[in-house]
């Protein structure tokens, strides 16, 4: 699976939606790992900061044929002409061609939000407020030193837990290894998922499970037609779920198999 530019790795993720139970552990793990700010009101989803966000979809059928499915949505780390990277005026977000990871430099971001406008996945969120750490509550005690908390007025997004890559690399270098083993670097959500619905690895490495999984007939990506080339893939055996992932003109969607339940 030759993808991306140049050499190096192309880290990607495969999320099995049949396994995903919508429990939200990935969201919580992500928030805890990356020091996401929590405000007293997180119910305004248009202003709530999430790097990994769950979308709930239903098949729209009447009772008792209704079905719910969840789309966990991290940053897609778009590979082709990354929509957000190309528009950022201050070079505060970059795609690293050696890893395929789209970074975000908070101290450089000026908060123009053009990247938010350009991203169709809503993977980027803006710090509308100062980080909420009231005096005397002591919430800041759980903050991890690996990721710096963000200031007001900047955009943030999922970085595929880039600090974990650094951590893994440091460990490898200490053992005088240049290459990482599969599983040595995985994101916090991958690690946390109790259903093991998330697989993470190097899409360019044929040995890695992800490069096998993306070849599955059930594999698809979100809004594939736009040509953003996300490095996050999904799996679902259900046609109605796969159909939810992109816009289709009438007759355009090709069901894989007639899904039969029960």
């Amino acid at each position: 699976m030759e993808k991306g530019h140049g050499h190096g790795n192309s880290y990607g993720m495969v999320i099995d939606l049949d396994k995903c139970t919508g429990c939200g552990t990935c969201m919580v793990a992500c928030a805890a790992e990356n020091n996401l700010a929590v405000r007293p009101d997180e119910s305004d989803k248009q202003r709530s900061i999430t790097w990994m966000r769950l979308y709930k979809v239903t098949n729209g059928k009447e009772f008792p044929h209704t079905e719910v499915c969840y789309f966990p949505r991290p940053c897609m780390q778009c590979d082709h002409h990354t929509p957000c990277v190309s528009v950022c005026p201050a070079t505060a977000t970059k795609m690293d061609y050696h890893t395929g990871i789209v970074s975000q430099i908070y101290t450089r971001c000026i908060g123009c939000r053009y990247c938010i406008a350009a991203c169709p996945y809503h993977a980027r969120t803006f710090n509308w407020w100062d980080a909420y750490f009231p005096k005397g509550k002591g919430l800041e005690r759980y903050l991890s030193p690996e990721v710096s908390p963000r200031m007001r007025g900047v955009v943030e997004k999922c970085t595929f837990c880039h600090h974990r890559l650094m951590r893994a690399k440091n460990n490898a270098y200490a053992e005088e290894r240049r290459e990482l083993e599969e599983g040595e670097y995985i994101t916090a959500c991958t690690e946390a998922c109790p259903a093991q619905a998330i697989t993470f690895g190097d899409l360019k490495n044929p040995e890695h499970k992800v490069s096998e999984l993306v070849k599955s007939r059930y594999a698809f990506r979100l809004l594939e037609k736009l040509g953003t080339e996300p490095k996050v893939y999904y799996l679902s055996t259900k046609d109605w779920v796969r159909r939810m992932a992109d816009n289709y003109l009438p007759g355009e969607f090709k069901p894989i198999a007639k899904v039969k339940l029960g």
């Binding site: 202003r47 950022c88 908060g111 169709p120 996945y121 809004l223 736009l226």
Partner: protein, 412 residues
Amino acid sequence: MDSALFPEGVKRCSPKVFLLWTLPWLCLLAWGGLSAFLCLYKGLNQTNMNDYFAFAVWIVFDLAVIALGAGAFFTGFLTYIIGKKELKDILNAAVIIGFICYSGAIAMLGIDIGQPIRGWFIFWHVNVHSMLAEVSFCITCYLGVLAIEYLPLILENRQLDKVKELRLFGHNLHGIMAVFAATGTFLSFFHQGSLGGMYGVMYARPFAFREGFYIWPWTFFLFILSAIAAGPAFTILCTKLAEKITRKKLVPEKAFQTLAKISGWLLALYMVLKITDTVNWIYGVVPRAGLAFMDFYREGPYGVWLVVAEIGIFGIIPAIILLVPKARQHEGWLITGCLLNCTGIVINRFVFTVVSLAVPVMPFDKFVSYLPTWQEWGIAFAVIGYGFLLFSLSYRYLPVFPRERELNPLSE
């Protein structure tokens, strides 16, 4: 009291009346000032913007005033480069309007970004691929050009004119104004275009995305064209408004007619291209994204009526009015035509800013609505207040309209 500052040979109202006239604009400025303070001190949570509406009313205002302010560069271009000498009589007004629009827009942008203190990172850490970087560079530079264009006029103030050095400086500036007009034209061409390009390049937003020529999406050219079509119309409108308020003829009719005719032609050309672009988009970008034209207008208040309004009522109709000599020679029709023309461009900028972001791209995403807060309105309206104030002050103390004395001989 302040009559010593008035241009020579013209009549101005009493300071009291003038103060009374500026009062509402000062109020708007105060409202804007309070809003700006809140937004800068407490952050952008004071607005109703969110991660779905990352751009909102301020950006609509920005784009609108920048487009409408295009009268400045375009009139300068016509006057100095093409040689339409009759436009000299309206050029000062155009420059002031341009200056107001651009300085207002930049001030508004300064509040709109989350980290205004490090806004200059755009220049320091510039990403040359970003249309917004291009916009920022060009409008900042162009504001400088506008200031330079504005400066000789200020120096013509009766009192400043008495200072020999300033007079000489102003005179020399006048002499090389053609250079600045050319520079302004160049810069404006690119930032008007880049503003369009900003949306056109968002290829993951099928509503805004346009294919294009080389690195420029078609919106790049459409925005330039629409700006130079509407800019002169806005100059006409503002001048006409000044004439109505001062109850004086300030600019010879010929200047209006020349501008109106050019505006009409450009608008007509713009309409042809806009319609072509829209059709091209409907049969190109839209179906490739798996969507149908009507999919964009399903939810929320943004129906297909916006297309009818933008292209029909506020596009084709004003083009016809401004193109038909009989119609544009009639003042009522001229004003109507210009008004429709300007409204059309505001709608266009609104559609590209707000509707682009309001239309969900992911099939399971939902439409969310947005209404600005009073703080957002405050800052937007402050630009209007600022405009009225600066124009009024300029008119009162500077010889904005060179033919004013001639057209309005003092009776005594």
